[in-house]
């Protein structure tokens, strides 16, 4: 019952008024940025990193988690009402959700996604609370070689699951790792890849890269194809509430969606796209009214939405227990921990239980807040969609400049923002995923540190990586993950033609 006690203690931390306020601000911001196209949770947390530098660490981290959860709720609103998924995680929701909205059933679609998100989020957070202590015990026994192998595995899965092409995913990741090399080497003080520019000695800031890729790159990309048809908001007609029939058809997809989302999010397999689409196709097969699919079947909203939220909670498992980020938002949250000198992992559970368990407990609270602020306040969120696009993106770029200048007020930093922005723009145009790059920037230096630690223990013998069963298995999995997509490219083609 240790977990239970720890969780109860966490709740006593999380219901302090200041923590509740941070959680509330987080879920409001998260929902807002989830609803708004062009700005997501990763970018928002990145922008807030420099701003929260001097605030209370526990409160800020609770706020970041609220933004992460809120972004998942808000994304579904946009997906349903304007058929423009804010995040790739909401792609599956948009398929049936927008059809439901056009058929005048937008209300129940929003309700099933909000309640489904709540159910999934709560179950998955429970999963996190009970899985984490167990994983921490395993992780205590990990040597640096195991951590290194785990990070290599995360590299492979992250670059393979984002986007369509493993080659482009790995390229994006490799650019991120290269950027991670820039600056002073922490062990020896050797300056690397700085080319005599003193501003580069501190390395590339996560905020600058994330803001450049996600804000500037996205703005350039959207502006560049502006002449396409404007999106239309479907007004919500009829009742917001779900009928008895809707409930009956929703509960099983919620649970199945959770069952897909949580494990896939928790394994370092990265991405919320895989479980949402798995859930969508499962519901399509199991549905009693298969001909409704494609015309607005409620199961097709309930399942993917639950999967999407469950995977967000799942992502926090490797983040908190191993310090291993598997999504862009998780990577930036890790940077958030690091800015307070905190390193997620087994040690953090032992040293700062109040912080870790307070954070986990606040996830339950954030989830409850979200379902409350989402259902009755849906009209408010819909009104956000009416902000004119020029002002929306102008505002996003102003905040991008603000975030960058708050980190380091220098022309060099702004020029890097500019370069990363154009890089993000070009990568979007040629279908390179940008998320692996952010993960690479953060995980690259960590992987290097673990590798060097491992090789110092073995006096330079690289075989230590293969002699330890843990790291050998993980590296084997990574190798399979790397080679499999190329071997099975024939299979991929089959999958594409099925659609």
């Amino acid at each position: 019952m240790d977990t239970f006690n720890a969780l109860m203690h966490g709740f006593s931390v999380a219901i302090e008024p200041s923590k509740l306020l941070f959680a509330l601000v987080g879920v409001f911001l998260g929902t807002a940025v989830g609803v708004l196209p062009g700005i997501g949770p990763a970018l928002t947390v990145a922008l807030l990193l420099p701003v929260t530098f001097k605030l209370d660490p526990a409160g800020s981290l609770i706020m970041f988690a609220g933004i992460y959860y809120g972004g998942m709720y808000g994304g579904s609103t946009t997906a349903i009402l304007i058929n423009a998924p804010g995040e790739s995680a909401s792609l599956a929701t948009a398929l049936e959700g927008s059809k439901m909205a056009k058929a005048g059933r937008g209300g129940p679609a929003l309700a099933t996604s909000a309640i489904g998100s709540f159910v999934a989020g709560t179950i998955a957070t429970l999963g996190l609370a009970f899985l984490a202590p167990w994983l921490v015990e395993v992780a205590v026994k990990f040597g640096p070689w195991d951590y290194f192998a785990l990070m290599i595995l995360a590299f492979v899965t992250v670059s393979a699951t984002f986007g369509d092409s493993p080659l482009r995913g790995i390229t994006s990741l490799a650019i991120g790792v290269t950027l991670g090399l820039i600056g002073i080497d922490r062990l020896t003080g050797q300056a690397r890849l700085t080319f005599g520019v003193p501003e580069l000695l501190d390395g590339v800031e996560v905020t600058t890269l994330a803001v450049g890729l996600f804000a500037v790159g996205e703005a350039l990309y959207v502006a560049s194809k502006r002449f396409r048809d404007p999106e239309e908001i479907v007004p919500i007609k009829g009742s917001l509430w779900m009928t008895k029939e809707d409930w009956k058809r929703s509960w099983a997809p919620w649970l199945r969606g959770t069952a897909f989302g949580f494990p896939i999010g928790a394994l370092p397999a990265g991405g919320a796209e895989v479980p949402t689409f798995l859930s969508y196709s499962t519901e399509k097969k199991l549905c009693k009214y298969p001909d409704e699919f494609g015309k607005g079947a409620i199961e097709g909203v309930a399942g993917p939405e639950a999967a999407n939220n469950a995977s967000a909670a799942g992502t926090l498992v490797p983040l908190l227990t191993l310090g291993l980020p598997t999504s862009a938002t998780a990577a930036i949250m890790l940077a958030g921990f690091q800015q307070y000198g905190l390193n997620p992992g087994p040690l953090l559970f032992a040293e700062r239980p109040d912080l870790v368990w307070g954070l986990i407990a606040s996830l339950f609270i954030a989830n409850t807040m979200l379902v409350i602020i989402n259902l009755p306040l849906i009209g408010l969120w819909v009104r956000l969609l009416a902000i004119p696009q020029p002002w929306l993106y102008a505002g996003i770029l102003v905040f991008a400049a603000m975030g960058t200048l708050a980190v380091k007020a220098s022309v060099v930093e702004l020029s890097m923002l500019f370069v990363f922005g154009f890089l993000g723009f070009l990568m979007r145009r040629y279908d390179y995923p940008v998320a692996p790059m952010v993960v690479g920037l953060i995980l690259g230096p960590m992987a290097e540190a673990q590798l060097r630690r491992a090789l110092q223990i073995s006096l330079g013998d690289p075989m230590i990586l293969l002699e330890n069963p843990g790291s050998a298995i993980l590296l084997g999995l990574a190798f399979i993950g790397l080679v499999a997509p190329f071997v099975m490219s024939g299979l991929n083609r089959f999958k594409a033609s099925e659609d």
Binding site: P50, V51, F53, K54, L167, I170, T171, A174, I175, V177, T178, L181, D185, L187, T188, G189, Q190, R192, L193, F195, V216, A219, L220, V222, A223, S224, K225, R226, F227, P388, Q389, P390, W391, Y393, A394, G395, L397, V398, A401, M402, L405, A406, A409, V411, L414, S415, L417, F418, G421, R429, Y430, D431, E448, L451, R452, L455, Q456, L459, G460
Partner: protein
């Protein structure tokens, strides 16, 4: 997605990516080679750069192969006026900060240029909105969060 492979010739974007990756690989390797500090035992600061350089090199060669096969996905047409306005706004931002114009004016430049690039035709009004927005952010940062943003003539008034 128009992924019809052009039978003759190579895909130019893929070739460019390949070239850039190979140049990056060479740069990383050159930088590692010219480093002076060596570790006593274990691996020093040059090991990882060599690994990264090798990976970049392999990725560059893969892109070379891709260039002569299916190529990269063909992107949609670009609205170049919009991109130019946005780029101009960003360069204006850098110049304004670099020349000591301060955060508020820089904000106004970015805001109005971005709004213009997304199709609004009210540059002066947007510049005004940008000034107000910049002032609000500056005051919030300096008074509430005690963080400093770059100061120019306008910021010194507060």
């Amino acid at each position: 997605m128009a992924s019809t492979s052009s039978a003759k010739g190579a895909d130019i974007p893929a070739l460019v990516v390949a070239a850039l990756l190979l140049i990056a690989a060479a740069l990383v390797a050159y930088d590692a080679k010219s480093q002076t500090i060596v570790s006593t035992y274990g691996v020093g600061p040059t090991a990882m750069p060599y690994v990264v350089s090798a990976v970049l090199g392999v990725l560059g060669l893969c892109h070379l192969v891709v260039a002569f096969r299916e190529g990269l996905p063909k992107p949609e047409a670009v609205d170049s006026t919009a991109v130019l306005w946005l780029t101009g706004g960003l360069i204006g931002l850098i110049a304004c900060i670099g020349l000591g114009g301060g955060f508020i004016i820089a904000t106004a430049i970015v805001f109005s240029a971005t709004a213009r690039s997304f199709g609004r035709q009210a540059l002066a009004v947007d510049f005004g909105i940008g000034l107000v927005l910049g002032l609000a952010i500056f005051l919030m940062f300096s008074k509430l969060l005690q963080l400093t943003l770059p100061s120019g003539p306008l910021e010194k008034l507060f």
